[in-house]
Symmetry: C2
């Protein structure tokens, strides 16, 4: 199928080239709302979100709203999120909805439709998704992403210590037998991307914590990825301690697709300081990235 | 901590005794909306949801709205869902929000707050949740459920074939080493419930497909559960082929807590036939259950 829309991977490569890899989290949890002097309400998350969009536009290229902090205010919170998503896209930012949805059949298809269909009220450029029911269960949103010029980031290895028992568990049968769950997911995603028409990156990416030793998850970061490499949404930079200097060491052959995701370290600059904090950090990340190449 | 609210497990036992185990899915996917003569829109899912609530009230005890089908209409869809949830709870139905959320830290806490906090716009009696980031990652919503008289159903073994590679993968280290992922989740949930004050069932339940051979997931259905057994949300009855007659064979020692979840087989009766279909099926399930005891 020839797509008339630009593929997500090509758009992402454009953002990397023009504005770098920094992704600013939009995480209006109660504590941050309070320290920003905003009410813990739908109007508070709306103001917070719009302020982060304003501070990021022109200074970095990507934002990642955490959906949970909007959803807790129900329909009013979602009305706020619709405004934030629209403002971010209108400002030319690439928007990754951090939704971590997952299901099967028509339900997971509806989640794809929610976040990835052009014209949907909650349209983003990409979303995060969990495949606890198997990568096969999310094939419909994977295909939707590919055909609609959208991206999907599948959780593979995450930074919280309690995740290890599942993500390092070993698959017992089928084509991924002997692989860890994290590696099996990576292989499933890679094989999906490889079967699509050629883009700078695949439409389906991975969530890999930047503070992890990926080798301990059975992930082979030396493996050559030749076509449509999966982009990597990598939380853990900044406040959580991962360093952009270590990007090549941590991510190996996946390094070129890494999105440097930071939230707390930037957001704690407050509404008055955020634009400067984003500009400074975005320049730092670009300089470190230039030095790496 | 002494709770002033009735525990979810005690409320569930009350529903089982008074109105049986049937749970009616509220799944307004596009195809069903069309066959019901409703628009594929927020107002369509609102009408559909309210009609299922009306048809179920007084005939069965539990409803399970699939959140994805409301979320795809954004804030308007969530306004519809708020109405459906409120109507269901006002009608005395126990409401399980089929949300399959999951995340870590303040994000997963916000999801718990969204669906389980008394007074929240999207308040339900219980929600489904995924623990791809480990059962430890969802401890905050587990504690919230326990303290607020709410329930949580954690995905463990699901019926779609692509789920096997992850759910049957074997944990390599830690206290659950040697267990499958599905079994490790069940043990974590059981151990959480056991540490709480005594209820008819634990506040934290499991999602286990009714069409599965649970033994093939390494799940020991003969294991005695002494305190606060996890209730089981079991999709797969009716249209998907599982039979209530087989409940004891499939679920063994978990049988007493099984919620018989049906969607398509009932919903395809259409708006005119649904109330009768629910009444008939609810009576059947109660009769089969009485015969089993």
């Amino acid at each position: 199928m020839t797509s008339v829309v630009a593929a997500f991977g090509d758009r992402l490569a454009g953002v990397f080239a023009d504005r770098g890899r920094l992704c600013v989290g939009i995480d209006p949890h109660s504590h941050l709302l309070e320290s920003w002097g905003l009410p813990v309400s739908a109007s508070g998350v709306r103001e917070f979100g719009l302020a982060v969009v304003d501070a990021t536009a022109g200074r970095a290229g990507i934002v990642k709203p955490q959906v949970a902090f909007f959803e807790r205010f129900g329909a009013a919170g979602y009305a706020a999120l619709e405004e934030v998503l629209a403002a971010a896209r209108a400002a030319g930012l690439l928007v990754i909805a951090d939704a971590k949805r997952g299901d099967i059949g028509t339900s997971v298809a509806a989640y794809g439709e929610t976040w990835l269909t052009p014209g949907s009220p909650l349209e983003a450029d990409a979303m995060t998704i969990a495949a606890f029911q198997g990568v096969g269960s999310i094939e419909e949103p994977m295909r939707l992403a590919e055909s609609a010029g959208k991206g999907l980031f599948v959780l593979a290895a995450t930074s919280n210590p309690e995740a290890e028992s599942i993500q390092k568990a070993v698959v017992q049968s089928g084509p991924r037998a002997g692989r860890t769950v994290a590696r099996a997911i990576i292989e499933d995603v890679t094989s999906f991307n490889r079967a699509q028409s050629l883009h700078a990156f695949g439409s389906v990416g991975l969530v890999l914590g930047a503070t992890l030793d990926l080798g301990s998850f059975g992930i082979d970061t030396a493996a050559r990825v030749e076509l449509n490499a999966a982009p990597v949404l990598a939380p853990g930079f900044g406040h959580q301690g991962a360093k952009v200097q270590d990007l090549a060491r941590v991510f190996g052959s996946l390094s070129d697709g890494v999105i440097v995701s930071e939230s707390r370290g930037l957001l704690q600059a407050g509404p008055a300081g955020l634009a400067d904090a984003v500009a400074k950090r975005s320049d730092e990340v670009r300089a470190l990235e230039a030095a790496r190449r």
